[in-house]
């Protein structure tokens, strides 16, 4: 990543092939720090160490201790002080080391970060980004693999976004940093080292837009973050079964891009929502509920969910059973009542 950083001219967005997601995030932080004096980056071990995932590698050296710094070990303090700093005109980008370790900050997030603009009728805005490495698949021991998006998406006033690709990681993080709303920025840990040959650019779909990653006619897979790649793999495999699968990468979990997603689902008439958080009360429920309401008469089958089991995240040696797999998603597609499929009445 230091490499990525050093190869790039400040603020430029030229091609840097191939880049990992961690590298893209690092570049986004560097470019934001360079572009806007108000941006500060802080958290546990983000300074000289460069973060446990090295996403902030080299930033303290390049931008100095006043812009990029380590904090005492206290997540509520990290978010709480970020709020105070934002009240005083800064744009804090803070890191929670792993997503289970964001829970101590929950009160600050829910009672203040999400509500301050509303509380003050717009006087006080908090353009804060909370970066949270989320999800499993990296062999992490307990507390290192939670998917906590449902807690944040259920909280009005927060934006919740997550990238599925390196290019999007760069774009979304830069958009998040310049967004006037507080943004919970979920980084899919197991994609940190995924590489993409791409040019990093802030241009492209906006922070609140879903994108169709792959077009297909028969069924829409709706997913985000760590399972975008799984969904794309599934789409490939499904070709063999004769299904032409469309993959929607939500990017913005909250607010939800109804226009893009309903268009797809109305077109295909079938959909599966995929995420690795537990199914029960998970974010996928909202996706199913709102799409069913908006697309009911276009649906050939109920929208299914392929999600983690309704259990605490398992230990490393059992996690492969818990995570949505290509096979499990294919099984769900197969359950979409293809036999009954009426050939009439489809949009």
């Amino acid at each position: 990543m230091t490499g990525v950083l050093e190869r790039r001219a400040e603020g430029s967005a030229g091609p840097t092939p191939p880049v990992t997601m961690a590298g893209a995030l690092n570049a986004a932080l560097a470019d934001s720090l360079a572009a806007d004096d108000r941006v500060v980056v802080f958290g546990e071990d983000v300074g000289v160490l460069g973060g446990v995932f090295r996403v902030t590698d080299g930033l303290a050296r390049r931008f100095g201790e006043n812009r990029v710094f380590d904090t005492p070990l206290a997540e509520s303090a990290i978010v709480g002080t970020a709020i105070g700093m934002a009240m005083n005109g800064l744009v804090p980008v803070v890191e929670m080391q792993f997503d289970a370790f964001a829970y101590p900050a929950f009160e600050q997030v829910v009672s203040h970060l999400a509500k301050m603009r509303n509380r003050t009728r717009g006087s006080v805005q908090l353009p804060i980004v909370i970066r949270i490495p989320y999800g499993g698949g990296i062999g992490g021991v307990e507390h290192h693999s939670d998917s906590s998006e449902a807690y944040y998406t259920a909280t009005p006033g927060l934006r919740v976004v997550t990238p599925g690709t390196p290019a999007d990681a760069y774009r979304l993080l830069r958009q998040a940093i310049s967004c006037p709303d507080p943004v919970v920025f979920l980084e899919p840990k197991r994609r940190y080292w995924a590489k993409e040959t791409t040019s990093l650019s802030v241009d492209g779909p906006g922070i609140d837009r879903a994108v169709i990653r792959r077009s297909g006619r028969d069924v829409t897979l709706i997913t985000y973050g760590g399972t975008v790649a799984t969904a794309l793999d599934t789409a490939e495999a499904a070709g063999g079964e004769g299904w032409d699968v469309e993959v929607v990468d939500l990017r913005s979990l909250a607010p939800f891009d109804d226009a893009t997603v309903t268009e797809s689902v109305r077109r295909t008439g079938r959909a599966v929502v995929v995420h690795e958080a537990p199914s029960f009360g998970g974010y996928g429920a909202e996706v199913v509920a709102r799409l069913t309401e908006q697309c009911f008469h276009h649906l050939e089958a109920p929208i299914l969910r392929v999600a983690g089991f309704d259990i605490p995240y398992p230990p490393p040696k059992l996690e492969q059973h818990h995570l949505p797999s290509v096979d499990r998603i294919l099984d769900a597609i197969a359950r979409l009542q293809w036999d009954d499929r009426p050939e009439v009445g489809r949009a």
């Binding site: 303090a77 002080t81 005083n88 509303n118």
Partner: protein
């Protein structure tokens, strides 16, 4: 028996007895460090406390008339509310709690705007930037971290701004208070923590809240110099807060101040303090009233003549009358405000929900 401690530690410990400049009977104590504020300031403190108490009483009265949803009175705590705020400079920030309406008013916020929260109109009725007063904070101790963050940002930006945060004794038990003290210490943030130890957190007395010899002893463990002060002595509160603000402003870092005071009224108008405390205790504290005390001192020293006293009382009555008049009517509320400030730009779902509500209201009008 006494024990010797190293100087680095000793400099962080409070004095064994609270700092006091004017005794409960209005006489000057022997203490000269800090020195007594100028007589002009003492008069301002007195004026602020008299007006503040009158408005506080008016607010309690407004709850009885249903004009306020709820009111947590700070009666008896005026020395803290007024003394601390008068120690701030224009460029400084105040981070008050729900109880600190008098402090907010002292800072210059319009009473009707300040009371929006407690009227049930909107969560925060004033623009925090106008007088540099954060919204009155309800989740206990969370405001301490906001104050530290704001102060840290001032340092990073090279601005001379000090943040004063008000906390209750109960709030000191929350983790956020400790985290705030610690971060402030590490970053030498220009912040002043003023704990108004009023003896109770709703019904819970201090003895059930902590086993500390005094809350001011919490500072040393986070590297903060700490002060214990008589919280019913406006002169003393003003002097120690002022000293802390000066120190913070000149790079000396944060200070923790514990002010010993008393909540004379119940927790709020809805509380029944008779369930958990004696009248005798209240009576004891009424003897230590901050206004009576400073008034006596000023009169004895010839700094407050009957005319001046009458003028202050008239000002207080006028302020109360104005508040009464301006809260007699319900403020018009705009339902669109429900949706307008959740995000910088309302997303489509919120616009749809707003439209739904509009349709319902139109239906309601058409129907009824």
């Amino acid at each position: 028996m006494t024990t010797a401690v190293p100087p680095a530690v000793a400099g962080l410990l409070p004095t064994a007895n609270p700092v006091g400049l004017i005794a409960p009977d209005g006489t000057r104590t022997g203490c000269d460090d800090p020195s007594l504020p100028d007589v002009d300031i003492l008069r301002e403190l007195y004026r602020g406390m008299v007006v503040g108490r009158r408005l506080d009483a008016q607010c309690t009265a407004l709850t009885k008339q249903g004009r306020l949803a709820v009111y947590p009175s700070s009666r008896g705590q005026e020395a803290c509310e007024v003394g601390a705020v008068l120690a701030l400079r224009d460029q400084d920030w105040l981070f008050p709690t729900y109880r600190d309406s008098v402090a907010v008013l002292q800072r210059g916020v319009d009473p009707v705007e300040a009371l929006s929260l407690l009227r049930g109109d909107w969560h925060c009725g004033y623009d925090p930037y106008r007088h540099r007063v954060a919204p009155q904070c309800t989740p206990l101790a969370t405001n301490a971290l906001h104050a530290v963050g704001l102060a840290c940002a001032a340092v990073l930006k090279g601005e001379d701004t000090v943040a004063l945060v008000l906390l209750g004794d109960g709030a000191t038990s929350e983790g956020d208070t400790s985290e705030a003290l610690n971060v402030a210490g590490v970053r030498r943030a220009p912040v002043v923590f003023l704990v108004q130890n009023n003896g109770y957190a709703i019904s819970v007395p201090l003895a059930k809240q902590t086993a500390a010899p005094a809350l001011a002893y919490r500072g040393v463990g986070y590297g903060l110099p700490s002060v214990l002060v008589d919280g019913n002595d406006a002169a003393a509160v003003h002097a120690v807060v002022r000293a802390a603000v000066d120190r913070a402003a000149t790079g000396g870092g944060p200070t923790l101040i514990e002010a010993l005071t008393y909540r004379v009224e119940p927790h709020t108008n809805a509380d029944d303090a008779g369930r958990y405390r004696d009248e005798a205790e209240v009576a004891y504290w009424l003897q230590r009233d901050p206004i009576v005390r400073l008034g006596a001192y000023l009169r004895t020293t010839g700094a407050l003549d009957p005319a001046a006293q009458a003028a202050i009382e008239a000002e207080a009555e006028a302020a109360a009358a104005d508040l009464r008049a301006r809260t007699a009517e319900d403020a018009p509320l705009d339902v669109d405000d429900l949706f307008a400030f959740v995000y910088a730009d309302a997303p489509p779902t919120l616009l749809a929900q707003r439209a739904l509500l509009h349709a319902e209201l139109a239906d309601g009008e058409a129907g009824g």
